[in-house]
């Protein structure tokens, strides 16, 4: 822009940016502070904006009383297995959509996009019945399969955008050299697109890690619960105990935050590419 920035203008700009940063981070700050207070101090006036005495009692309680460690393992397994499988499957699909022209291509892309638009909850009931018939209700495998289906459409659209950024001369050269298309894809394209693929994996992982309604519907027994399901169980009990609840929230958010921090640049790229082309 050609305009000169004035000092008041700059102050207003960074004032606004600063304010929004504070607003964005405050909820995370507050839940962390709550989690670190001793159980009694949470319900005490005046509210402490920094714990008088930092205590890990809430975390200890979480892992001792509730099976929180097990829930985290369940979530970790579901999210990493589905995340990985989805990424591979959507890599193949995204590649085809990016590189080939064929009659039903528009319909395929539309079929993926539509799943992002329609109220998916209409499938919740029938899915439960279907999974019951397949003996997949309340099994880790069942949840993983459903998560895979859930993540494929967006992941495909995202990866397709990354393929568009890579010239097709790359795999053609490899294919002329005698590689099959599949081999060319994994030997030549995947290494080039690794940042984008990692971002897609992280995005899928985080989506599955955070998923609530499917796991609430499908997973009944305590030993199969994922973290969000367990947390939603904390609510339905009469009174929320905010100490363990905050600790659980922190334990849920921190891993995803770390992953997102590493991949945010590529996720942003994938999202904007996906949406603009969509």
């Amino acid at each position: 822009m050609m305009h000169k920035t004035t000092l008041p203008g700059r102050t207003a700009k960074f004032g606004f940016l600063g304010l929004w940063l504070v607003i964005t981070l405050f909820p995370l700050y507050w839940i962390t502070v709550t989690a670190l207070k001793s159980p009694g101090a949470i319900y005490k006036f005046p509210l402490q904006y920094w714990p008088e005495k930092i205590s890990f009692d809430n975390f200890a309680g979480l892992f001792n009383q509730a099976n929180f460690g097990l829930y985290m393992v369940n979530s970790l397994v579901a999210a990493s297995v589905s995340g990985a499988v989805v990424t591979v499957i959507s890599l193949l699909a995204g590649y085809i959509i990016a590189r080939f022209e064929f009659a039903s291509k528009g319909a395929v892309v539309m079929a993926f996009l539509v799943t992002q638009m329609i109220p998916a909850f209409i499938a919740l009931g029938p899915l439960y019945m279907m999974m019951t018939n397949l003996n997949l209700v309340d099994t880790r495998g069942g949840l993983i399969v459903v998560y895979i289906a859930m993540c494929i459409p967006f992941s495909t659209i995202m990866l397709r955008g990354f393929f568009d950024n890579v010239p097709d001369a790359l795999e053609e050269a490899a294919m002329i050299d005698g590689c099959s298309r599949l081999v060319a894809l994994f030997r030549v394209l995947v290494p080039v697109m690794l940042p984008g693929i990692t971002a897609a994996f992280i995005f899928n992982f985080v989506n599955c890690w955070n998923e609530l309604f499917l796991s609430v519907t499908l997973m009944n027994s305590d030993s199969n619960k994922t973290v969000p399901t367990a947390i939603s169980g904390f609510i339905t009990s009469y009174n929320i105990e905010w100490g363990p609840m905050s600790a659980a929230a922190v334990m849920t958010v921190v891993p995803t935050l770390i992953m997102f921090a590493f991949a945010s640049k590529y996720i942003v790229q994938g999202l904007t590419a996906g949406a603009v082309k969509g």
Partner: protein, 321 residues
Amino acid sequence: MTVKTTEGEVRLPATADGPRRRGGPGRRRSFTARRGLTIAGFLAPAAVFVSVFTYYPMLFGSQMAFRNWNLNDLSNTDWIGFDNFVAIFGSDQFWTALVNSATWVIGSLIPQFLIGFSLALLLRRRFFLRGPYQAFIFFPWAVSGFLIGILFRWMFNGEFGVVNDLLMKAHLIQSPLPWLADPSLAMVAIIIANVWYGVTFFAIMILAALQSVPDELYESASMDGAGRARTLFSVTVPYIRTTLALTVLLRVIWIFNFPDIIYGMTGGGPAGQTHIVTTFMIEKTQQGDYGVASAIGLIMLFIMLVFAVFYLQIVHGRKTT
């Protein structure tokens, strides 16, 4: 694009001297068939998963809307025509939820758009630490909507909530407000949470659009003596209008369908007064009332379709004039 810069590091098999086409004419002939097989084979896993676990239950669910289908009593799953719809339209709960849906969408969308747009404009030019800043304000996206509902539920707690505490410290209120116990205040609270969550999306999308505006446009606008506001409304906005319109449409649909924050924050309470249509439908599903839930789903789909058609007509109509 980093993807491109890493290209150089990839060792390509030597091709310059080797024979270019080993297959010759014979390979050509089977080309179409092989091409079809490749397309089908690569797409198959994705297609199978999405058809079986997304589309099949969705379609199956759609027909349940016209049947007496309650998980608690499956002895009679007869076709009952539009009875489920009649029951829904006759319930006050549904109309409350529908009005709430409108409030929820409009009340969330406008602030999200305005704040997101402002952020995008301010982030357009590079400044010291812009990258980390963007990563930080990206944070809400790593958190599930449900958990955001929980975070805000705690902050808006009527007794020990930090929001009341801050407002009282600022002397804006004299005594704590019962945020989540009062239906109107609860609507305000869930919308605030949703604004907080959704601003990032707009900021990112609009920023990407802004970066697509060629610099020459700004230069000529500035040479014509256009001021900052003038440039914004006569150059920037018209240039990115299509992206803006599309982003808004996607967001409306998405917010309309988005139950997570409400589910975590109020669960539709107090007394069902903060249900939007989506959370209402989920409640029906969890009660096993699949027929009614599916019918609500179809109503939602219909509302969004009508909205999208009208919206696109308006946007498109403006474009041609």
